[in-house]
Symmetry: C3
């Protein structure tokens, strides 16, 4: 199975062409569109998508993540092996989505014999990533794509800080519903006698509940979200709109 | 075959993760993305999508519809059997998309042995719907997901009323083209000596034709649409924009 | 393999229903969503998508392109054979995406025995294209869908003109990144002693580089894009926004 994460969008032919190249070389492989709507060149969003998804895919999955502002420069293309899965990605930080201690091996992709020819300096998703992924899906040992690398870039999502009162963190992602996914770890919030209180951008406090519908429609609610982090939402509405919040907005928690 | 209808959108990892969980447990199953762009929490749109699609999928299809503002509360998750197909959906009205007399059985899903653990109170699409759908796709009898239920919620789309002159109805859906899909049944409009006239929001009358291109570009036209309902469109344009119409706008027909 | 190109978007059930009909009749076929976000009725965009994609799909691929403002009129539906691939499309110019000398045969589709019944005059993607594509995918000879046609409409993308100084062309497509894909052929720009200079809408000159990141973030750059045409971009930004450019904007090149 090959899983695609890109910033190609769906109006242009880019994502479809990548699939065509893969299927021409690996006719039996299954392709899953995980996300093609990463905002253009937004590495942090790509890391979030990959970090919150990869463990839900089975062993043997090949992830191809093409968010690649450095396409066509001499930045390397990497092949990482982690938890029985394979990751192809540019050496631009995306592999930070995998905890460092889970990464078993990282190799540089150097197999022009596999690439489409010529390789376009602006679309290596089609000309390099797709054929290499197809080769791995049809049996190529991922350790044989090129030499092992000593080090590589890791973009790690910012971490929340413990404070005297609780936590100071920030909004990592605003999802389609306007929910604010923060970086405050959810396991620190469970099992307390009094529910923690949460402030976003210094606005009036929100208290923790179990699910969105524990508050009336239109009201703010804090929950432990499905990625294990504190999330601020509005039941049947948008917390981002109600709080004028965005990626990076400050979040404070009092326990 | 598992068919997905959700309001997850395509920018976030949610829809992709659901596919990962299904494929981890049912590696051979085919997944079809029917629609992930239901407007957030818009049950009526979900009902329309399901009602106008289900009969075009083959027997044995498993529909998984996750538009679920009550996620994490004690609302039930249902499994309906109808016309040789299976439907998983929250008990929030979505099953109203299936005519009541076609529903053969409805069971409550109560199989924590199948769920992911722990179950997140905010993402049961991943933790409950996906593994149960995978189990049914790989052979679980859909009647064994839990006890049969006596009654369940049915959100039925509003129906047009007969009047002395013809029909009074409303716009059910505005599609991507700006076409206004109404709830006036199309079979009542065929075979008349004089074509019926249609008013949307009291604007100048539109007359019925066979296809969009029976009018000049930019002109309004009424047709019997592909779901069997009266539709008001602009040839190569948007009726919604031209008439400032939206879901719920009043439609009157004189026969 | 059946590849879909439509202007149906992803919020409505149309694309999903087409897949349901295909899979009901050709259960084993693979369906690839190449692009459902062609702007409504935008034949030129459809031609661009198809022209820049088709050679990256393997032999035997069946392309179904439904951008069809004339749906339900007496415009024909065509089946073209080219380069070992099959194309179903309305006779409205879309087949201009295939160079004329690569087209081996074009037949009119006249097989009501295969269609869904009744055929809706507003959704022939579902009622005609889908079942015919499924029949071809399961073995129907594409030459037996109906009589050969003498001539058919070809919408060809505008070509750039040679000038005393170089080229005068235009923007063919603005992609998701705001990159301006032009119709100036890239092979004429390579291997020159001094890099060519490019003007869009008469704005200050942009010089050619190899890849986007050869300029600082926020700066304009011209490259030979992945479709083989000159492309004007902003590294990590939008050239369309920076230059207020759109489809049809004039592009001049001095060699």
């Amino acid at each position: 199975m090959i899983v695609l994460v890109t910033d190609f969008g769906l109006a242009d032919p880019y994502a479809g062409v990548v699939k065509g190249v893969i299927l021409g070389r690996a006719p039996g492989v299954r392709i899953v569109d995980l996300c093609h709507e990463v905002p253009p060149q937004d590495l942090r969003h790509a890391v979030f998508v990959l970090a919150s998804s990869r463990t839900f895919f089975p062993e043997g999955t090949i992830f191809v993540t093409v968010v690649d502002p450095g396409v066509g420069t001499d930045r390397r293309i990497l092949c990482a092996i982690a938890g029985g899965q394979v990751h192809l990605a540019p050496d631009n930080g995306i592999l930070g989505a995998i905890p460092a201690d889970r990464v078993e091996a990282v190799h540089a992709v150097e197999r022009p014999d596999l690439y489409l020819s010529p390789v376009s300096p602006t679309f290596q998703g089609r000309d390099v990533f797709a054929p290499v992924a197809a080769a791995i899906a049809t049996g190529l040992d991922p350790r044989s794509v090129g030499p092992p690398v000593e080090s590589y870039l890791r973009l790690e999502l910012p971490r929340a800080r413990r404070t005297a009162e609780g936590w100071t963190g920030e909004v990592l992602v605003v999802d389609r519903f306007g929910n604010l996914v923060t970086n405050v770890p959810g396991d620190s919030l469970a099992g307390l006698r009094t529910p923690p209180r949460v402030w976003v951008r210094g606005m009036p406090a929100v208290s923790l509940a179990r699910s969105y519908a524990d508050r009336a429609p239109g009201e703010l609610v804090a929950v432990v979200g499905s990625s294990g982090y504190l999330e601020v939402a509005v039941n049947r509405g948008s917390a981002a709109a109600k709080l004028s919040a965005a990626v990076g907005s400050v979040v404070e928690v009092w326990l």
